[in-house]
């Protein structure tokens, strides 16, 4: 039995230890917002947060997790689509096909948690996700805009 804390709910699961977190989210918990693309931790489509850090769920065996680790997926980035990144993404029409965007948003959200007003260099260093449609420039703009929205919200 493995206990996982996902989006604030603790799930007790009778599953093999070696299943990557990605497939537990997608196939056991029905959280398909987190995407499979490479399976080797390279492309970032499966990015989720564990205790606020962006991680690649396709290479994390569930055996390395327990209920003390707070896992957050795209489905819980906000309750109402009002996370500053979601607002910015909407305003700038960032997604094209959208398949990589869950991972892109989760990577960006972790970056903003760490660095509230990231520079372009911070973005370059922290956002390493692949997007084949080519949304990078709007992703960059979106992160800056979300940082502005965050700041306006606080003051």
């Amino acid at each position: 039995m493995i206990k996982l804390n996902v989006n604030g709910t603790v799930h007790t699961l009778d599953i093999d230890n070696d299943i990557p977190l990605l497939w537990v989210l997608r196939e056991q918990l029905g959280l398909t917002g987190t995407k499979y693309s490479c399976g080797i931790g390279n492309c970032g489509s499966c990015t989720v947060h564990i205790n606020g850090e962006a991680v690649r769920a396709c290479v994390i065996p569930v055996s390395s997790l327990d209920s003390s680790k707070q896992i957050v997926t795209i489905e819980a980035l906000s309750e109402d689509n009002r996370h500053p990144l979601q607002q910015a993404w909407k305003k700038l029409d960032v997604p094209q096909c959208g398949y990589c965007q869950s991972g892109m948003l989760m990577s960006a959200a972790a970056l903003l948690n760490k660095i509230p007003r990231p520079s372009d260099e911070d973005i370059d260093a922290n956002i390493t996700n692949i997007c084949r449609c080519g949304t990078f420039n709007r992703v960059r703009q979106g992160i800056h805009l979300a940082a502005d929205i965050n700041k306006r919200g606080r003051t």
């Binding site: 497939w23 499979y36 693309s37 029409d93 959208g98 084949r132 949304t135 960059r140």
Partner: protein, 740 residues
């Protein structure tokens, strides 16, 4: 273009009177455009969607209006990120005069299209054709629906239709000031005959076409709700993982299912056609794990001695051969011109195999019974998917249907090739009555692409003593897509697609006037399956042409801009986009220290595009692309901000190909297996892109692909300006950019 008067076929009405069937509703429900879909209770949602639709008759095939004034616009082409869903909806809504804030979309199914005599026409989504191929009939669909809605209101009020007008879904009887909304007359309108003729607006009167409205499909892509086909769950569905013989042309010999049949969740191990084996299990992870453990032997077939070097040799032979050579463009006498030239410049270029690498790997879901086969899939061509499904199912097309789901990238991989559809049906057929989802691993996707074709190109150009281009011979040697994919489209054995960007006329005509010109193609087809690819042949042809024009300018001692301008006097639209990027980039003025510029221009998919790149190369040979100015003239610009997005994105796809894109062949198989050895550009490599959208009107050009063609050559020409080294082999990865 002025107002167009279009005849309306009675057929459009007669076959549209039937209410939407349940199958169609199922497709709509799964398209994910309209509802907040959860995967948890598909059956009840399906039923709800069916019920909802059945209560609302369509005004015509393109338009359904609900009592609450929600406007549902039906879209036949596939949305894969390129924004066609929004653009096509804008075109229907322009003529419909409806409230844009209440517009949603849904996909009709290809089965319904056939049942209704192709009322939605072409489902194929490729060749940057979505909008330019359907602009007239979708606008007509909107205009006819508007007419019927107005007529219904006039009838209800007992007034002349000519006294009524409409804006934003509100119909007004002008003399009395009475108003009624579309939602209140839609049911009555659905009972009317369409007009015999309809007038389309003059483009100068467009209000919604040309406006940078937001995409209609963004919300669900921000919170994980958008269901891609890879995410689909159906009740009692099983999951399959597949492995086909890694060697092209090889077959499945044996597999030992006893070694995996006791593994958790495994339900069945099945041969798929004659070249693949799949494990079907409760979950996909279980299926994949069992497949990894499955002992398989292959009959590797005739291609085990094919490798990159042997293919290179084959192409080299074609560079000078007279055998199996086809002419794409010929003007004057190029041999004579080269003989008489004061200077002859010669160079050979090479472009590799490349994988599409859509972010969402190939997948499809099928439910087969002896009477019916249904498939849910990401497809660029629903009709092709339907025929593939029927074929594999052994059932007539009328007993099959395909439910399209938004694609996690297409790029040409999911149009002509329905291999994954055929596979999933072959698997489902062995599990009657049980839905099966097949999902490829990334490794399978890399091993079994339909690759960007491989070619080499030998260019010979003659200059007179004043540095004018007098003759040009372009010899392409390499693969034909059509020979492998669609021989029916060939012209007397020639693949005219091979000559994109160098043709005498049409959507991909050459941008220059050359007095003596020969463009020919030695067709050499190595046994690696080629395919359409975002841009396809224009990508390498623009590299060949635009790099070589730069080489000629350099040899002539001329500025690359003025050298081009002189050859483009008779190509004013091309010249205009070239001049636009040169001006905005500051061509002729000094760039920042260490930064150099390169130009490129061409015509592709009927649009004119140009780019100016700014790059630097440091003392270690490391390239940085700082800025790109890009101009595009697509004739009419339906949604300028989405055109900008496509232009920006084209640089990512085109430059990823230039920097990293290569599939090498060893022992008849592709060597690359995932993104670690088939790289793609990341955000840290992305230059600033400035987009100039300059629609000149009077024609319809594509936007999803053209800009890819100018991405690489602009950067390559800038690298030459920076280093003096001309790069002629791609990708750049592993190449020393500094002069050797």
């Amino acid at each position: 273009m002025k107002k167009e008067i279009i005849n309306v076929s009675r057929r459009d009405f007669l076959i549209t009177t039937g209410k939407a069937g349940a199958g169609m509703s199922l497709g709509f429900y799964l398209s994910g455009c309209r509802e907040n879909i959860s995967n948890e209770a598909p059956t009840s949602l399906m039923a709800a969607a069916t019920e909802k639709l059945a209560q609302v008759p369509e005004v015509n095939a393109w338009v359904v209006i609900q009592p609450d004034d929600t406007v549902i616009i039906r879209i036949a082409r596939s949305e894969m990120g390129q924004g066609t869903l929004t653009g096509l909806a804008q075109m229907v809504a322009e003529e419909l005069e409806c409230d844009w804030s209440k517009v949603t979309t849904e996909y009709p199914t290809p089965g319904q299209n056939i049942a209704r005599d192709n009322v939605w026409r072409d489902f194929a989504t490729g060749g940057s054709f979505g909008i330019r191929g359907s602009h007239q009939y979708v606008r007509k669909g909107g205009a006819v629906a508007r007419h019927m809605l107005l007529e219904a209101a006039a009838e209800q009020w007992g007034v002349e239709m000519a006294e009524c007008k409409v804006a934003n879904s509100v119909i007004t009887h002008v003399p009395s000031g009475r108003t009624i909304t579309y939602g209140n007359v839609a049911a009555a309108a659905a009972e009317l005959f369409p007009p015999e003729q309809i007038e389309l607006k003059d483009p100068k009167d467009w209000q919604l076409i040309g406006k940078p409205v937001h995409r209609l499909d963004t919300d669900d892509k921000l919170n994980g709700k958008q269901i891609f086909a890879a995410d689909l769950t159906l009740p009692d569905m099983l999951n399959a993982s597949i492995k086909a013989c890694p060697v092209f042309g090889g077959k499945l010999k044996t597999f030992d299912e006893t070694k995996v049949s006791n593994m958790p969740g495994v339900r069945k191990v099945v041969a798929v056609h004659d070249d693949a084996v799949a494990v079907v299990a409760d979950t996909w992870w279980q299926a994949k794990k069992a497949l990894d453990a499955l002992p398989i032997t292959w009959s590797k077939g005739p291609n085990t001695n094919v490798n990159s070097a042997s293919i290179d040799k084959m192409l080299d032979e074609g560079l000078t051969s007279k055998e199996n050579v086809f002419v794409g463009n010929q003007i004057g006498d190029v041999s004579k011109a080269l003989e008489g030239a004061a200077k002859v410049v010669e160079a050979t270029y090479r472009y590799p195999f490349q994988n599409h690498a859509t972010m969402e790997p190939m997948n499809a879901t099928a439910l087969w019974t002896k009477d019916k086969c249904e498939v849910w899939c990401p497809t660029q061509n629903g009709t092709a998917s339907l025929h593939a499904a029927a074929d594999a199912a052994g059932l007539p097309v009328s007993q099959c249907d395909v439910y399209k789901i938004h694609l996690g990238g297409g790029f040409g991989r999911r149009g002509a090739f329905q291999d994954y559809v055929k596979q999933v049906v072959a698997i489902a057929k062995q599990l009657p009555g049980i839905p099966v989802k097949l999902l490829w691993t990334r490794e399978e996707d890399m091993a079994h692409g339909h690759y960007h074709p491989i070619t080499k190109c030998k260019m010979r150009g003659g200059l007179d003593d004043k540095g004018n281009l007098t003759g040009l011979h372009v010899r392409i040697s390499g693969q034909s897509i059509l020979a492998a994919v669609n021989p029916g489209w060939m012209t007397n054995g020639a693949d005219m697609f091979t000559f994109q960007g160098m043709l005498p006329k049409g959507d991909h005509s050459i941008s220059y006037t050359v007095p003596n010109l020969l463009v020919d193609h030695a067709m050499r087809n190595p046994p690696v399956p080629p395919g359409f690819w975002r841009g396809v042949n224009i990508n390498q042809n623009a590299i060949y042409m635009e790099s070589f024009i730069d080489e000629l300018a350099h040899a002539a001692g001329k500025d690359p801009l003025t050298f081009r301008q002189k050859l483009m006097v008779k190509h004013p639209e091309g010249l205009a986009v070239l001049n636009a990027v040169a001006e905005q980039a500051g061509w002729g003025k000094p760039a920042e220290k260490g930064v150099y510029r390169g130009l490129s221009v061409c015509k592709a998919f009927a649009s004119h595009i140009a780019a100016c790149a700014e790059v630097s190369v440091n003392e270690k040979g490391k390239l940085k692309i700082h800025r790109i100015v890009a101009a595009t003239d697509p004739g009419y610009a339906v949604n300028p901000q989405q055109i900008e997005a496509q232009v920006e994105g084209s640089f990512v796809y085109g430059l990823s190909a230039l920097l990293y894109g290569e599939c090498t062949i060893k022992d008849g198989a592709v060597e690359q297996s995932n993104f670690h050895d088939y790289g793609s550009m990341r955000i840290n490599e992305m230059p600033k892109v400035e987009v100039i959208v300059m629609p000149s009107g009077g024609f319809w050009g594509g936007v999803g692909e053209p800009t890819i063609a100018v991405a690489a050559p602009a950067v390559l020409n800038a690298i030459f300006a920076a280093t003096g080294k001309r790069i002629r082999h791609f990708p750049l990865q592993g190449t020393n950019l500094l002069a050797s």
